[in-house]
Subunit: 255 residues, 2 copies
Amino acid sequence: MLQAAPRQPSMRQAMNPVSDPDPTLPPYARVKAHLKDGLAGGRWAPGARMPSEAELVAQFGLSRMTVNRALRELQAEGLLERRQGAGTYATALHRVASTLTIRDLHEEIAARGHRHSAVVDLQRAESAPPALAAQLGLEPGAAVFHTRIAHLENGVPLQCEDRYVNPACAPDYLAQDYTRTTPTHYLLAVAPLWEAQYLIEAGRPTADEARLLGVAHTEPCLVVVRRTQSRGVPITLARLVHPGMRYTIAGSFTP
Amino acid sequence: MLQAAPRQPSMRQAMNPVSDPDPTLPPYARVKAHLKDGLAGGRWAPGARMPSEAELVAQFGLSRMTVNRALRELQAEGLLERRQGAGTYATALHRVASTLTIRDLHEEIAARGHRHSAVVDLQRAESAPPALAAQLGLEPGAAVFHTRIAHLENGVPLQCEDRYVNPACAPDYLAQDYTRTTPTHYLLAVAPLWEAQYLIEAGRPTADEARLLGVAHTEPCLVVVRRTQSRGVPITLARLVHPGMRYTIAGSFTP
DNA sequence: TAGTGGTCTAGACCACAGC
DNA sequence: CTGTGGTCTAGACCACTAC
């Protein structure tokens, strides 16, 4: 039903790129559209060899740079694999790489037109136990900053944020008023955020978290653990706990 | 090579780009590295105006196309915003766009060197209730294919996959042996996967799911709901339930 | 109008893969 | 060796923005 009409390439279709996309598109975009259509329509199976740059140059009457751009962008989008000297291939595409956007919670709530507020449960320096010290690149027992903050949307607890911060990166971290700004916002201002790793899992809240979120400690929660570095220097380790019924991470994938 | 020698922008150099990245990198990559370093180091604040293409051409002694490529790629990576006629700006970057990869579970398990097996609990055609029909672009009451399969890693249940499939897209879906292939794998072969949206949340398993996963129905589970279309035609709607303590989604962000 | 980005070209040299 | 992709150039024309 999709790859409806065409087929029976009989004579290799001679010319005509089968798809004749919007002629107002710039040429490189037309090449991309042509290749995407072909991939979507099964003209090239996963893993199959794609036309070479030279072939596309001849077929479309464009310069090689233009064709190269189209192919390079499709590669960046994960649709093609290219190997110097070997050729261009359709990706097996048994993976779906998707963009997941994690925004500052304050902005996320504001974007919904709702009111964000915060309850600061804890804001102090502590001595880092070995495991934590290792995560933040500190000596065991060194001072770390620790905050625990509940974030509310229109008065309803949405997230409990347990965060440890490397003092070297944000010496004034403890001096901020986190009912007026968020740790994320402050840390982004202090040091642009350059690398992050995260884990997403389901779990139960700790007693503290259950208290701050106003849920039973048996309530399933979505837990995001995120570690952030800037230029290789660990900045912060955060555990973000969301009541399962109140929070969802959404994403999409559109090549 | 060609543009080999140049450089020595005479006075310009004065302030030396601060960063003098790996000289073995291709020129466009050096420009990218220079700009990334500057952004990471706070040389340009979020929202600040970046050097124009012409300025970078003068500074690096490169052609405009090369500089343009560096800027275009940084834009694609979300680090820069560009407006024709206006200029190039550092993104406010109060968002962290991260790559989340969802792979076929069979491949994921195989990649860990473990053994994947599946228990097919249900495999039949059903009549689509209105809500489901709407999601799949069908008439209410139309036939849909429904499978419920537990996926095991070395014999331990890891995921319960409840899946509805648009029969028009995969007429032979019910004829497959899902102890030998996975629905994901089969559907990818039938119709390349072109758009997907998903939700990730924490919840409790249904009674069926708890039974198949061998967990209590109070156990927190990570639930991924994914909807997939190919060329705008809905293909499948899947609910993937993972026991919270056994499954984690990991991702990273490294601009 | 001047500056900016968006795009294209027709060549070129190189590194690498496969025969 | 040939064919492939990786990259660069020095111009060019255009559309848009801001003044």
